[in-house]
């Protein structure tokens, strides 16, 4: 089982570790930022193992609760997401074992064992997905890609190097031959341009769970 590193930048890993340390120190709100940051990724991971959308939600919630409870054990020798990934897989497998023992549960709850995050999902729908939810998700993805394409070259390059290539600000400043402050400003402006298109869609769809 390979847990891909979604964001190899050491700065981000350090930021996650700082949020963990703040949480252990008593600031539960710091953990909330980690939940928002990784919730979709964890749900996608679990969704590859379990069909039922509500069960995916339950397992994802349980994953974060277990992580919260065990946060004092996180030593920082691995990235936070790697640690969270293992908890999610273990939690999902445990839930699947319980479901398999239940004779009233049908096979439609289950998927073949597959916890490889790098494997792309086919075009099949999970049981509770609707065409509307699939369309909405594709729509927002198209909006983001369109917003990226419409960016000035320097902003597009900065945000692409950061989000897709996972380079740190220092590395980007070397690639783009500009100060780190400029890198920070360009990435922020790129995000703002994308967010300006995405946030209205999010506000319109707030609370909907297809």
């Amino acid at each position: 089982m390979n847990a891909p590193d979604p964001n190899p930048s050491g700065a981000v890993a350090e930021s996650d570790l700082m949020l963990v340390e703040r949480t252990v120190a008593g600031d539960q709100k710091a953990f909330a930022l980690l939940v928002v940051k990784y919730q979709r990724r964890i749900q996608r991971l679990i969704g590859r193992m379990v069909r039922d959308v509500d069960l995916v939600e339950d397992i994802a919630q349980e994953t974060f609760i277990r992580a919260y409870r065990a946060l004092h054990q996180f030593r920082g020798d691995a990235q936070f997401y790697t640690w969270l990934y293992r908890i999610a897989v273990n939690t999902a497998k445990k839930a699947l074992m319980e479901l398999k023992r239940d004779p009233t549960v049908t096979e439609s709850f289950l998927k073949p064992d597959d916890d490889d995050e790098t494997k792309t999902r086919g075009n099949e729908l999970i049981s509770d997905e609707t065409p509307e939810s699939v369309f909405a998700a594709k729509e927002i993805a198209a909006v983001v890609n369109g917003a990226i394409a419409a960016l000035p070259e320097d902003l597009r390059q900065a945000v692409t190097l950061r989000e897709i290539e996972g380079l740190s600000y220092e590395e980007i400043s070397v690639v783009m031959n500009c100060p780190i402050g400029t890198v920070r400003s360009r990435i922020f402006r790129a995000r703002e341009a994308i967010s300006a298109k995405v946030r209205p869609m999010l506000e319109n769809q707030a609370g909907k769970r297809w």
Partner: protein, 241 residues
């Protein structure tokens, strides 16, 4: 957009990339939690990043209630299991109750704490413990009844029409004498304070005695439940064994 709002969003963007330290980091964390606009920016920036990396949004892209549900559930579990925060094996806790309930269509999010994961087996253990106690109590009661003196006391509690014939003048316990003492007055045969009581009359049933005498040869004990001598010293001597 206000300049301060823009500045807050810029801080959140830098926080997302791990670029903040010290006071800036603390301020950005507080903003992302307490300021609605900053929190929305945190959510939107990460969603955009995931879409850029994976090319897809996923059906849960619009779900902004996950965090609220998580905090509610965490608060509920904190009330139920305060010791878990110190558990070294927190990641191994089997929290399968919700999954089973969900699978059976019985999941109740509003009251997840009514039963624990081992509630069913706990009930059986409780029943077994109660049954064991009852059995021990019954055995103990029977053993107590076999003790000398106690058996006679217990048997004397049973009224019998023959008792009056067997011992004229004797009164079974629990039955009032014709000349019952009025309340407040001492019984005529009660020992005066300071004097020793006269020995109690043992009430015996002659029919019972006859039965016991007829059967004592077949039992290892006498009527008084004392081990018979021939049993205690029993030996077997046979020629040529």
């Amino acid at each position: 957009m206000k300049p301060e709002q823009l500045k807050n969003r810029e801080l959140v963007s830098a926080l997302a990339d791990g670029q903040l330290r010290g006071a800036e980091f603390t301020r950005a964390v507080a903003l992302a939690n307490q300021d609605g606009d900053a929190a929305a920016a945190w959510h939107a920036y990460h969603l955009a990043g995931e879409i850029l990396r994976t090319g897809e949004a996923g059906a849960n892209a619009f779900d902004q209630g996950f965090l609220a549900r998580f905090e509610t559930r965490l608060a509920q579990e904190a009330n139920l299991k305060p010791a878990l925060a110190d558990s070294p094996d927190a990641t191994k806790i089997v929290a399968n109750y919700a999954y089973t309930k969900r699978a059976n269509g019985q999941f109740d999010q509003s009251n997840p704490a009514n039963d624990s994961a081992n509630q069913s087996s706990y009930r059986w253990k409780l029943m077994a413990a109660v049954a064991s106690l009852a059995a021990v109590g019954a055995i103990g009661w029977n053993s107590l009844g076999n003790l000398p003196g106690v058996a006679d006391t217990l048997s004397g509690l049973k009224p019998s029409a023959q008792l009056a014939q067997a011992a004229p003048g004797a009164v079974a316990p629990g039955h009032a004498r014709p000349d019952t003492v009025a309340p407040g007055q001492a019984r005529p045969d009660a020992a005066a304070p300071g004097q020793a009581q006269q020995p109690q009359i043992m009430i015996r049933d002659p029919h019972l005695d006859a039965l016991l005498a007829a059967h004592k040869q077949f039992g290892g004990t006498s009527a008084l439940q004392m081990p018979a001598g021939f049993i205690r010293n029993a030996t077997f001597e046979g020629a040529g064994r």
